[in-house]
Amino acid sequence: MSGVSTATVEDLAEATAPDRFWNRQRRLGAALVVIGLIAAVIFGSLAESATARFTISEDAEGAALSINGQLGAILFGIVTIAAGGALLAGVAKRWQTTLLVLGIVTFVFSFLCWQVAGKFLPLVDTASGSLELALPLILGALAGVLCERSGVVNVAIEGQFLMGAFGAALVGTLATSVWAGLISAVVGGVIIASLLAVLAIRFLVDQVVVGIVLNLLALGITGFLYERLMQPDALKYNSPPRLPEWRIPGLADIPVVGPVLFETNLLVWLALALVVVIHLGLTRTRWGLRTRAVGEHPTAADTVGVRVRGLRYMNVLLGGVVAGAGGAYFTLVSTGAFNKNMTAGAGFIALAALIFGRWTPFGALGAALFFGFAQKLANYLSAVGSPVPNQFLNMLPYIATIIAVAGLVGRVRAPAADGVPYVKS
């Protein structure tokens, strides 16, 4: 009956001593020192001794932060080593997260100095591109948060994306209205979510199985209708209007942050607002308390009168709404037309963001932004012809998640009843 997250066999593997020398902080420190050495020595020696320019304005010639690439790579690497060293030496616990973040950020800077040396990296474009690529990941991961905090595993995010993207393209084109498209994207997500809910909650089918099969079902149905309807007559069925970009006067004039956050489409604001709303909802409202109770210990929740199945149905369907809106990104924001299997694994990166973000809204936001940045960087590097293959950067979300669940850098733990169907006895 153990639905315990990533620690199902922990008691079967050797037990971990509570205060041995290589505790979590020292392991983190050692890891930072190692990557810091890689940064300072390898990135430093490979980097050209030329100016790396990080432009703040939209054009290449305008204001920029510049640094000698080689010097920067080495300097930032040394900072990473220092952060790791501080962790190894044993600083107070409250500095741990700050030092870890500092170490990782400086490692990324060192990498950037190496890659950008002799070239320029437009900061505004990178930031807004990262946010845009992170957009479906944020929404997908939030959908996962809603489902999984109430105890239903959601592997069907990919399928919800696909149905959402397809619905948005089809109805958006037929109604020539981007808002109709957005609404039908939500409907598409809810269709898959309701199948997930009924099969998992009512019929007690293994939730991972349902999720995987629903992904294939969505892939099949959207692919089938795409080939039957959209491919022969794209103009009639597959040319939806794009979501307009809105500019908030005043705020949009702030350098870097302005164009990224205040000159963008509605979906971005919706996603960012939802992060806050869901966070507050989970931690501050009656609904949130009940959701968490149902996800951790459904029997106890039932005993005090919470309707376990009803709440799970509601949360899975809400998740479908959010993931469907995420699907709209692919057709209404990104490309402007549906294509077969166009999400290409984004649903699974969203799942990775959910896990990497420890099943919390803000964690999911951070992970999604990080993964979005990695994707954007991969695009940039392949555009400037970097020797670092972009496939390896695209692997980053997956490998980071494996490291996180393996507990090599702090363990992540799922809600206790995640994936365990509730049967009233």
Binding site: D206, L217, F348, I355, M395, V420
Partner: protein, 418 residues
């Protein structure tokens, strides 16, 4: 732990005729009936999709109340044509048989549908076994896709990078496939055993890592075909190819290997001491530990063997059917293997038959696409629907008002979290 149907026991046993037993079982929710009805339900939903997506037929529905016969005949023609093609493409085409008997046809044309079915089925048997075997040991191996991709890579590279005499080269390439897949299975197995990282999460992540790795590898010099600019590897040496039947027929030795692998896995699960251990661990890990088995070691071994099987499936795909690496060389065989394992109820011979069914759907789907223009994607829909109904027997039971089976073993029994 969550069997749907309540056990009905202690009914007075009386001698019944064979016919009585047969009739009683005919409409009760046992494995065979649920499987057949699941396939039927999937075909019905598929038919609706075919009609809904055809604008000509839909046009006849606009005056349905005036002349319903138009709409009904048009729909029936389309559906029966599509499903007849599915059969003709998968098993045999009566016209070709007639032509053969009258002397105007060729025996190869007659056997071509079967050959296609077996060609598509062969890799699915391996990936299906990889999932089913891990299931029996309590692990959910979603990573068959990634393991098959790595198997494709290692077998493919061995196929064109090493020069060896004919039979030996094939064996070495197949072994490389097994080793590649086993390595890719070893990682989640080790993580599960040592750190408790859930195998569903790690294998999902490793699937995409494998695909990206393949995408990178085929662009490297030494692997990429020097005469091509797109992502295509060199062609595999003929010495490493799986022997196949003469030209238009594509079926190759892989299907024979698949049957052998099925027998091997059946022996492994049911007769070997490792099989006993893995079943014990699958049912109740703490009890297995108490009985002196090493749960951690069993998990690792299980994932290595499962990964090896999936890797062999990838090797069979690349050495038998594809003959070179491309980004899509493994297709969807890992995820389809998951469906095959579920349809085959995690039993080796069940997996074999399920793979044949899926191979047949795929082969027939090709003809359906060419002949009536019904997209091959319909097959994906059918495959997914069949498994949804299989996995939710209570749903099928309530749709058809089936009786409870005598042996109520059909519950959705594998529900557990991560």
């Amino acid at each position: 732990m969550t069997t749907e149907a309540p056990e009905k026991k202690a009914e007075p046993k009386k001698e019944e005729s064979f016919l009585g037993v047969f009739l009683h079982n005919l409409w009760s929710a046992n494995t065979v009936v649920v499987t057949i009805l699941s396939i039927l339900l999937a075909l019905v939903i598929g038919a609706v999709l075919i009609v809904v997506s055809d604008s000509d037929v839909l046009a006849t529905f606009s005056y349905f109340t005036a002349r319903p016969s138009d709409a009904l005949t048009a729909s029936w023609d389309l559906i029966s044509h599509a499903y007849a093609d599915l059969f003709k493409g998968a098993i045999f085409d009566p016209a070709a048989v007639q032509a053969w008997f009258s002397g105007s046809g060729d025996w190869k044309t007659v056997f071509n549908p079967l050959s296609e079915t077996l060609t598509y089925a062969a890799p699915l048997v391996f990936t299906g076994l990889a999932v089913a075997l891990a299931f029996r040991g309590g692990l959910f191996n979603i990573g068959a896709q990634g393991q098959a991709v790595i198997g494709c890579v290692t077998a493919g590279v061995a196929g064109f990078a090493i020069g060896l005499p004919p039979v030996l080269h094939l064996i070495v390439a197949l072994l490389f496939g097994v080793i590649g897949g086993a390595l890719w299975g070893f990682v989640p197995g080790l993580l599960k055993a040592r750190t408790g990282a859930h195998e569903v999460i790690t294998t999902i992540m490793l699937n995409y890592t494998a695909t990206l790795f393949l995408g990178w590898l085929i662009l490297q010099s030494g692997v990429q075909d020097p005469n091509r600019t797109d992502a295509v590897s060199k062609t595999i040496d003929s010495t490493a190819g799986l022997p196949a039947l003469p030209a238009p027929l594509r079926v190759h030795l892989g299907i024979v290997l698949a049957v052998l692998a099925t027998a091997g896995v059946a022996w492994l699960i049911n007769r070997s001491s490792f099989g006993f251990e893995l079943r014990a661990v699958g049912v109740n890990p703490p009890a297995a530990k108490t009985a002196g088995m090493s749960v951690a070691r069993t998990y690792i071994m299980l994932m290595v063997v499962a990964g090896g099987l999936a890797g062999l499936g990838g090797a069979v795909q690349v050495l038998g059917t594809a003959d070179r690496l491309t980004g899509q060389v493994a297709g969807n065989i890992g995820f389809d293997g998951l469906l095959v394992a579920l349809l085959g109820r995690n039993k080796p011979w069940g997996v074999l038959f399920a793979a044949m069914l899926y191979g047949g759907l795929r082969a027939g789907g090709n003809l359906m696409q060419v002949d009536v223009g019904v997209s091959l994607e319909l097959v994906t829909v059918l495959q997914a629907l069949i498994v949804i109904f299989i996995a939710a027997p209570a749903l099928v039971k309530s749709i058809f008002q089936l009786r409870d089976a005598r042996t109520a073993r059909l519950g959705a029994s594998m529900a557990k979290g991560w």
